[in-house]
C-alpha cells in the first residue's frame, strides 16, 4: 500500500462541516460522536480520580483523619462504579473506536450511524441516573454483592438501574462495530489486512454484545430482589448470594477484556510505526485477540476462588485462567520482537506504548499469582488484588487510551501537540503510577485488606508512599490532558495528513478528516505493517 503524503488538504473538515449546536447534538457522524464520548468520559475520569485522591489522602496516615468509615465506603464504591461503568468500559471503543474504525477500514461511517447516536444518548441517560444516585450514594462496593446490597438503605436501585441503562449503550455499540467490520470494509480490505486495532475492536465488540446482557439481567434481578423480596439471593429465604457472584462475574470478567483489548490494539498500531518495522507475527496477534475474547468467558470464578465454590470448580477456573494468559503473552512477545532491531524513535505515543508493555507485564504476572489457588487464599481481598487490577486497568487500558489520544491527536484535531511537555507529563504519569501501586503489592503481601477505611500503624509507611504517588499520578494526567487541550485550542501549527509516516488507511486522508472521511473510496492491496520492506506488496 502506498503512503500518500501528498493528500490534498482543503479547509473543510468534519469539525467545521456544520457548526451549530444542533448539528453536534443531532450528528450521526462517527467522528463527532467519538469526540462527544471523549469529553464526557474525561469528565467522569476526573470525578472518579478525585474520589481516589480523597481516599488516598485519608489513607496517608493511620487512624481516622477526615473521613468517617461510611464516607470511605461510599468513596471506594463511587470510585469503582464511575471509573468502570462511566469511564473505562465505554473507554477506547466509544471514543477512539468510534472515530477510527470506519477510517481504518476505508468506510464512510459505521454500519448504523443513527444507532450510534442513540448509543451515546443512552449513555448520557445512564450517566444522569448515576449522578442522581449520588444524592444517596451507595456503599456496597462496585460489585454490589448480596446480601448487603439488598439491605443497605442507599440508592442501590438507582445506581444499578444506571448501570443497566449504560449496558444498553455498550451492547448497541458492540453490535454496530461487529456489523461494520463484517460489511463495510473497502475493496481489497480482507480480514488479513485489517489493522490490529480493528481486530481488537472487533473482539471487544463481540464481548460487549454477548456479555453485557447477562449483567443487565443480573442487576435487574437485584432490583427485583430489593423491591419485591423474592429471595433469589437471600439465604434467609433459601436463596444463594454466591449465585449473584456467579452471574455478576460472568460479565465482569469479560468486561476487563473489553477494557484492555482495544488498548492492545493501540499498542499494536504504535509500536510498528515508531520502530519502522512490520508488526512481528501479525496473524498470531489477530488470533490472540479473538482467543482472549473467547477464553475470557470461561474464567469468571477466579474472582470467587475463596467464596465457597467447590474444590473442583476452583481447580478448573484456576487452570483455565493460566490458559487465558497465553494469548496475551504471545502479544507481548510479538510487540517486543517488533522493536528488536527496529529503528526506534521515542515520540510520546511510543513512550506510552512501551510503558504499557512494561506495566502490563507486571499486571499479567501478578494475575497468575492470584490465579494460583494456594496463593489466592492469602491474597484475595488484600491490596495485592487492588494493585494487580490497577496495573491492568490503569497501567493497561488507561495508558492505552492516553497513548491513542497522543498518537491520533493530529488526525482528530489537525494540530500537533507540544512534544517536550507531553514527554514530561508521561514521566510524571509513569513514575506516579508505579509509586502509587508498587507499594500496594507489598502491602497486600503483608496482609493489608482492601476496602478498609483504616489500618495497623505498621502499614503507614507504604500507604504514605502510595499516597504521594497518587498525587504525582494525578498531576501527570492533568498535565497531559491540559497539554493536549491547550494544543487543540491555541496551536497554530497545521498537522500534516501523515506526520508519522504510518501505513494504515486513516492516515490516507487529511488531518482532520473531511466529513465523508475520504475523497474517494480507497482500496488496499496489502496489510498496514509493511514498514521497511523494499518491494511494495512484499507481504507477510
Amino acid at each position: 500500500m502506498t503512503v500518500h503524503s501528498d493528500v490534498a488538504h482543503n479547509n473543510k473538515n468534519y469539525l467545521n462541516h456544520e457548526t451549530t449546536l444542533w448539528s453536534w447534538l443531532s450528528t450521526v457522524d462517527h467522528k463527532r460522536i467519538g469526540l462527544m464520548y471523549l469529553f464526557t468520559i474525561t469528565g467522569f475520569f476526573i470525578v472518579g480520580g478525585l474520589a481516589a485522591l480523597t481516599m488516598r489522602m485519608e489513607l496517608a496516615s493511620s487512624g481516622a483523619d477526615f473521613l468517617s468509615p461510611e464516607q470511605y465506603n461510599v468513596l471506594f464504591t463511587l470510585h469503582g462504579a464511575i471509573m468502570i461503568f462511566l469511564f473505562i468500559v465505554p473507554g477506547i471503543p466509544a471514543t477512539m473506536g468510534n472515530f477510527l474504525l470506519p477510517l481504518m477500514i476505508g468506510a464512510k461511517d459505521v454500519a448504523f450511524p443513527r444507532l450510534n447516536l442513540l448509543s451515546f444518548y443512552i449513555y448520557v441517560v445512564g450517566a444522569f441516573m448515576a449522578l442522581y444516585a449520588l444524592l444517596n450514594p451507595i456503599d456496597t462496593g462496585w460489585t454490589f454483592y448480596a446480601p448487603y446490597s439488598m439491605q443497605t438503605q442507599s440508592a442501590v436501585i438507582l445506581m444499578t438501574g444506571a448501570a443497566f441503562v449504560l449496558g444498553f449503550s455498550s451492547i448497541l455499540t458492540g453490535l454496530n462495530f461487529v456489523v461494520t467490520v463484517h460489511r463495510l470494509r473497502c475493496p481489497g480490505m480482507t480480514w488479513d489486512r485489517l489493522p490490529v486495532f480493528v481486530w481488537g475492536l472487533y473482539a471487544t465488540a463481540v464481548i460487549q454484545t454477548l456479555a453485557t446482557p447477562v449483567i443487565g439481567m443480573t442487576l435487574l434481578l437485584l432490583i427485583v430482589e430489593r423491591w419485591l423480596g423474592v429471595g433469589i439471593f437471600n439465604p434467609a429465604m433459601g436463596g444463594d448470594p454466591v449465585l449473584f457472584e456467579h452471574l455478576f462475574w460472568f460479565y465482569s470478567h469479560p468486561v476487563v477484556y473489553i477494557m484492555v483489548l482495544p488498548a492492545f490494539g493501540v499498542v499494536g498500531e504504535i509500536i510498528p510505526v515508531f520502530s519502522r518495522k512490520p508488526l512481528f507475527g501479525y496473524k498470531m496477534v489477530c488470533y490472540a485477540s479473538v482467543a482472549i475474547a473467547l477464553v475470557g468467558f470461561l474464567v469468571w470464578a477466579h474472582h470467587m476462588l475463596v467464596a465457597g465454590i467447590s474444590d473442583t470448580s476452583a481447580i478448573y477456573f484456576s487452570v483455565i485462567t493460566f490458559g487465558v494468559a497465553i494469548p496475551t503473552a504471545i502479544k507481548v512477545f510479538n510487540w517486543v520482537s517488533t522493536m528488536y532491531k527496529g529503528s526506534i524513535s521515542f515520540d510520546t505515543p511510543m513512550l506510552y506504548a512501551m510503558g504499557f508493555v512494561f506495566l502490563f507485564m507486571i499486571a499479567g504476572t501478578t494475575g497468575i499469582y492470584l490465579a494460583t489457588l494456594a496463593v489466592d487464599v492469602f491474597y484475595h481481598d488484600t491490596y495485592f488484588v487492588v494493585a494487580h487490577f490497577h496495573y491492568t486497568i490503569q497501567g493497561g487500558a488507561v495508558i492505552g487510551l492516553i497513548a491513542a489520544l497522543h498518537f491520533w491527536f493530529p488526525k482528530m484535531t489537525g494540530k500537533m501537540y507540544n512534544e517536550p511537555l507531553a514527554k514530561i507529563a508521561f514521566v510524571l504519569v509513569f513514575v506516579g503510577f508505579n509509586l502509587t501501586f508498587l507499594p500496594q503489592f507489598v502491602l497486600g503481601m503483608e496482609g493489608m485488606p482492601r476496602r478498609y477505611f483504616d489500618y495497623l500503624p505498621e502499614f503507614e509507611g507504604l500507604h504514605r508512599l502510595s499516597s504521594y504517588g497518587a498525587v504525582v499520578n494525578g498531576f501527570g494526567y492533568t498535565f497531559a490532558l491540559l497539554n493536549l487541550l491547550g494544543a487543540w485550542i491555541f496551536s497554530k501549527k497545521q498537522a500534516p495528513a501523515n506526520p508519522y509516516n504510518s501505513l494504515s488507511l486513516e492516515w490516507n486522508t487529511q488531518s482532520p478528516p473531511i466529513h465523508e472521511n475520504f475523497e474517494e473510496t480507497p482500496s488496499v492491496t496489502d496489510y498496514p505493517y509493511a514498514y521497511g520492506t523494499p518491494v511494495e506488496g512484499g507481504g507477510h
Binding site: V28, D29, P102, A107, K108, D109, A111, F112, P113, R114, I171, L175, N176, V178, V179, H182, R183, L184, T209, L210, A211, T212, P213, V214, G216, M217, T218, L221, V224, L228, G229, V230, G231, I232, A236, M237, G238, G239, D240, L243, L247, E516
Partner: protein, 258 residues
C-alpha cells in the same frame, strides 16, 4: 449522514455509505446479533430457575400446580400461529404484495393481543388469591384457613371480594399468627418471583414485538415494500419468532414439567 428524506415506495432507502444489497445483509446481521443478546438476557433467568428447581424440587412442583396448563397451551398455540402468519408476511413482502403484508401483520399483532389478554386473566386470578407480590394480608384469626396450599380454604376480604388464600406483603413484621399462616412460603416466593420475572419480561417483549410489527404494518399500508426492499418485514418477523421461541421454552418449563 443517512438520507431518510427520500423514501420511494418499493425502493430501498439510500444511506450514502451502504449499497442496498450490503445494507440488507448488514441489517440482518445486526438483528441476529441483537437476538443473541436477548437470548443471553433470558438465559440468566433460565439459569436461576434451573438451579432453584434442582434445589427445591418438591416446593417448585407444588407451586407449579397453581398454573393452568390449558391457558398456557392456548397461548402457545396462539403464538405459534402468529409466527406462521409473520413468516407468511415476509413471503408476501418479497412478492411486493403490500396489502397481504398488512393483513397478515395485523393478524399477527392481534394474536399477540390475545396472548396478552390470556396472560392478564392468569395474572389477575393469582392476584385475587393473593399469590402476587405486594398483596397485603387481611385480618384473620389463627386457623381460619383450611389447608393454606390448596384451593380449599381462603379468607374472604370485605372490599374487592378477593378470596385470598395467600398474602405476599412487602413487610412481614407485625403480622398476626393467622396472617402468618397465609404468608406465601419462601420457596413459593422463589418460584413465583421467577415466574413473574420470566413471564413478565416475556410479555414486555411481546408488547415490543407488537409495536414493531405495527410500525412495519403502517409502512406496508403505504406500499413501502417490494421484491427489492422488504428488510423491515423480515427483521420484524425475526424478532417475533424470537418472542415465540422464548415462550416455547417457558411453557413446558413452567406449565408442563412435573
Amino acid at each position: 449522514m443517512t438520507s431518510v428524506a427520500q423514501t420511494i415506495p418499493g425502493e430501498p432507502p439510500h444511506p450514502h455509505h451502504w449499497t442496498p444489497t450490503n445494507a440488507y445483509h448488514g441489517a440482518k446481521l445486526g438483528m441476529w446479533l441483537f437476538l443473541a443478546t436477548e437470548i443471553l438476557l433470558f438465559s440468566v433467568l433460565f439459569t436461576a430457575f434451573a438451579l432453584y428447581r434442582w434445589a427445591y424440587l418438591g416446593e417448585f412442583h407444588d407451586a407449579s400446580l397453581n398454573l393452568d396448563w390449558k391457558l398456557g397451551a392456548l397461548n402457545t398455540a396462539v403464538l405459534i400461529l402468529s409466527s406462521f402468519t409473520a413468516a407468511l408476511a415476509v413471503d408476501a413482502a418479497q412478492r411486493g404484495n403490500n396489502k397481504r403484508v398488512k393483513h397478515l401483520l395485523l393478524f399477527t399483532v392481534m394474536c399477540g393481543g390475545i396472548f396478552l389478554v390470556v396472560k392478564y386473566f392468569e395474572y389477575s386470578h393469582k392476584y385475587h388469591i393473593g399469590l402476587f407480590p405486594g398483596v397485603e394480608c387481611p385480618v384473620v384469626e389463627a386457623g381460619a384457613l383450611h389447608g393454606s396450599e390448596g384451593h380449599g380454604g381462603g379468607a374472604d376480604v370485605a372490599e374487592g371480594g378477593h378470596h385470598l388464600e395467600y398474602c405476599w406483603p412487602k413487610d412481614t413484621s407485625g403480622l398476626s399468627e393467622g396472617q402468618r399462616e397465609m404468608l406465601v412460603s419462601s420457596k413459593y416466593k422463589m418460584y413465583f418471583g421467577l415466574y413473574y420475572c420470566m413471564t413478565g419480561l416475556h410479555a414486555l417483549h411481546v408488547i415490543i414485538g407488537m409495536l414493531l410489527l405495527s410500525w412495519v404494518c403502517f409502512h406496508a399500508s403505504r406500499n413501502r415494500f417490494s421484491e427489492k426492499y422488504y428488510t423491515p418485514v423480515e427483521l420484524g418477523a425475526l424478532y417475533w419468532h424470537l418472542v415465540d421461541l422464548i415462550w416455547i421454552y417457558l411453557f413446558p418449563l413452567l406449565y408442563l414439567v412435573d
